[in-house]
C-alpha cells in the first residue's frame, strides 16, 4: 500500500530516499556546515544531523539568497540532500533547485507535510506530476 501526497508541480528529477523531517525552516547559509554536510545552527531542530543524500522535509525557507548558488555548489561536491520537500518554498529555493537540478516540491493538498512524513521513512518524489509517494510498512 502506497500513500500519495499531492502537491504543486515541482522542479528536478524523480528521486527516492530517506526522509529527514523537522517542523523548521531552511537556509543553506544560515543552517549548514556545507563542508561536513551537517546542520550546524544550534537552534535548528536538525542540529548535528547529516543531510547528505537525504530528502529534507521542512516548513519553508529562511533568510537570504545565498542558497541559490549554494545548492549547486553542494551538488557539485556531492555533499547535498537528494531533494527538498516543503510546505512552501520561497523564490530562492526554487531558483537554487532549478540551477542545481535538485528535486523540489511544495504546496501540499493534505496539510502540513512535516506532520505527514516521519524521519527515516522512504519516500519517492515525482516533481513533474506534483506527487510524493510513501510506501507503508
Amino acid at each position: 500500500m502506497t500513500q500519495i501526497f499531492l502537491c504543486h508541480a515541482g522542479i528536478g528529477p524523480i528521486v527516492s530516499g530517506e526522509a529527514l523531517v523537522a517542523a523548521d525552516n531552511f537556509s543553506a547559509r544560515y543552517d549548514l556546515d556545507r563542508i561536513n554536510g551537517v546542520f550546524s545552527r544550534p537552534q535548528h531542530l536538525l542540529f548535528g544531523q547529516s543531510y547528505k543524500n537525504k530528502i529534507l522535509v521542512l516548513n519553508t525557507a529562511k533568510g537570504g539568497v545565498a542558497t541559490a548558488w549554494m545548492l549547486n555548489e553542494m551538488v557539485a561536491r556531492d555533499v547535498a540532500p537528494k531533494g527538498l520537500v516543503l510546505n512552501r518554498a520561497n523564490t530562492v529555493l526554487a531558483q537554487g533547485a532549478a540551477m542545481a537540478n535538485m528535486t523540489l516540491v511544495d504546496r501540499f493538498a493534505d496539510g502540513d507535510i512535516t506532520k505527514l512524513i516521519k524521519t527515516g521513512q522512504i519516500i519517492t518524489v515525482v516533481p513533474e506530476a506534483g506527487r510524493v509517494e510513501l510506501a507503508s510498512g
Binding site: H8, A9, G64, V65, A68, N72, T91, Q95
Partner: protein, 408 residues
C-alpha cells in the same frame, strides 16, 4: 508560460548557449510559481560570493564568458567574499582569492559592473516607484520594494544573472499587485531610537511574520526614519522572516493609508516592550571574553562611516574592530578622512565585502573568533550557524567594547 517571439528565439538558442540557459532557467521558475509571462526589468543585482558559488560557480561563469554571452541591461554586484587588497591579514587563502579573481574576470567579460555593494539603493541607482527590477541580497530587495516602491522578488545569484542576460524575469510574486497587499498588521508601542533598535524591531516583525509570502504593514511609527535606520529595519526583517516587502502607514509609498494595502481588515498585533526585550535577552553578554567587533550587514553608508570615525577619534582598540563598506563609500570616506581616523584607532576598514559572506567560518577558526559583537541584527542572526556566539549592541557600545576590550 506565454513567450514572445524574441523569448522563443532565446530558447531556441539563436542568441547563444548562455542566453538559452538563462531563459530556460527562468521558464522553470515561472512554471513553478504559475507565472503567465515575463516582465521586462530595468536593472539586475547579483549576489555572488566565492563561499557561495565555489568552484562550480566559477566554472559556470567562465563558460558564460567563453561563449561571449553579454548582459542586456545594467547589471551590478553584491559584496565580494574577498577584499583583494586585504585578505592575508584576515587569514583568507590564495585559493579563496583566486576564485574571486576568476569570477570577477568572467563577470567583467560578460559586461557586469563590479559594484560589490549591498547598499546600491544608497549609492548607485535607486529604483523608482513601480520599477520592475531583479535584485539579489535580501536587504536590497526589501528596501527597493518597501522604501522605493520598486518590484522585485528575492533573486538568487543564478536568477539575477539570468535576468541580466535576458532583460526580463518571470512575472510572479512581488511583480503582481495581489502579492503586495498586507497580510499581517502590527502596531508598535515604542519608537526605535537608533540603528540597532530599528534592526531589533525589524527582526521581531520578521520572526512573527515568518514567511516570504507574508507582507507586514506597520502602524504607530511617528516620524520618517532615516535611510540608514530603515535600511537596518528592513535588512533584519528580511533576515529573520525571509520577508521581501513591508509597508509603514503614511511613510512608505504604497501605504499612504492602512486601507491602501488592504490592512484595515487584518487582526491587529501589538509589538510590545516585552517582545523587544525578549529578543535582546536572547543574546549573551561576554564581559572581557569578547573576540571581535564587526560593523557590517548592510555595508556602512557615508553617514555611518562618519559616526564610526567620530567614536574612534583619538582612541585605540584593544579588540579587533572590522568595518565593511562599499567601494563607492570607501572612496568618499577616505577623501574625508574617516577611514584614516578608524585605522589610526587600530580598526580595519574593508571595501566591497561584508563580513558574513567572506568565509566567516574559516576566518573565525583561523583568528580564534567566537564571541562576536555587532550592531547589526542581521549579522548576529546569520553567524550563529558559522560557529560564532554573536551578540548585539548599539554602534557606540560596540566601538566602546572594542576600545575597552570588554562588553559593558
Amino acid at each position: 508560460m506565454r513567450l514572445t517571439d524574441h523569448e522563443k528565439a532565446m530558447l531556441a538558442g539563436e542568441f547563444g548557449p548562455g542566453i538559452r540557459w538563462a531563459i530556460d532557467h527562468q521558464i522553470k521558475i515561472g512554471n513553478f510559481f504559475d507565472a503567465i509571462d515575463m516582465v521586462p526589468v530595468s536593472q539586475a543585482h547579483m549576489m555572488a560570493d566565492a563561499e557561495s558559488f565555489g568552484d562550480a560557480g566559477v566554472l559556470f561563469m567562465e563558460a558564460m564568458a567563453e561563449d561571449r554571452t553579454e548582459v542586456a541591461i545594467p547589471m551590478i554586484t553584491d559584496p565580494r567574499g574577498v577584499d583583494l587588497s586585504h585578505y592575508h591579514p584576515l587569514g583568507q587563502t590564495e585559493e579563496m582569492a583566486s576564485l574571486e579573481r576568476r569570477f570577477i574576470s568572467a563577470c567583467q567579460t560578460i559586461g557586469i559592473m563590479m559594484t560589490n555593494t549591498c547598499i546600491n539603493y544608497q549609492t548607485i541607482m535607486p529604483p523608482v516607484l513601480g520599477d520592475h527590477v531583479a535584485y539579489g541580497d535580501t536587504g536590497v530587495v526589501i528596501y527597493a520594494n518597501s522604501v522605493c516602491g520598486a518590484r522585485s522578488n528575492f533573486e538568487g545569484g543564478p536568477s539575477a544573472l539570468a535576468a541580466g542576460l535576458t532583460g526580463r524575469t518571470p512575472r510572479y510574486g512581488l511583480h503582481l499587485d495581489e502579492y503586495r497587499q498586507a497580510t499581517r498588521r502590527y502596531r508598535i508601542s515604542s519608537q526605535p531610537q537608533e540603528l540597532t533598535e530599528w534592526g531589533v524591531l525589524g527582526a521581531v516583525i520578521g520572526q512573527k511574520s515568518g514567511s516570504y509570502w507574508e507582507v507586514p504593514v506597520i502602524e504607530g511609527i511617528d516620524s520618517s526614519p532615516t535611510s540608514d535606520e530603515i535600511k537596518h529595519f528592513g535588512a533584519a526583517m528580511a533576515s529573520y522572516g525571509s520577508t521581501p516587502l513591508f509597508h509603514i502607514v503614511s511613510i512608505t509609498p504604497e501605504a499612504p493609508t492602512i486601507e491602501s494595502v488592504n490592512g484595515s481588515c487584518l487582526p491587529l498585533e501589538i509589538i510590545t516592550k516585552d517582545d523587544i526585550e525578549a529578543f535582546r535577552a536572547s543574546f549573551p553578554g561576554f564581559g572581557d571574553q569578547l573576540d571581535v567587533v564587526v560593523l557590517a550587514a548592510p555595508q556602512l553608508s557615508l553617514v555611518e562611516m562618519r559616526q564610526v570615525a567620530t567614536h574612534c577619534a583619538g582612541r585605540q582598540v584593544k579588540k579587533p574592530l572590522i568595518v565593511c563598506t562599499s567601494p563607492q563609500v570607501y572612496g568618499d570616506a577616505t577623501r574625508m578622512g574617516f577611514v584614516e581616523m578608524i585605522e589610526d584607532a587600530g580598526g580595519t576598514v574593508l571595501q566591497g565585502t561584508c563580513f558574513y559572506n567572506q568565509y566567516a567560518r574559516e576566518i573565525g577558526e583561523v583568528n580564534g573568533w567566537v564571541n562576536l559583537l555587532s550592531n547589526s541584527a542581521k549579522i548576529v542572526n546569520i553567524l550563529g550557524g558559522y560557529g560564532y556566539r554573536p551578540s548585539l549592541a548599539s554602534m557606540e557600545n560596540c566601538i566602546e567594547a572594542a576600545i575597552t576590550g570588554k562588553m559593558a
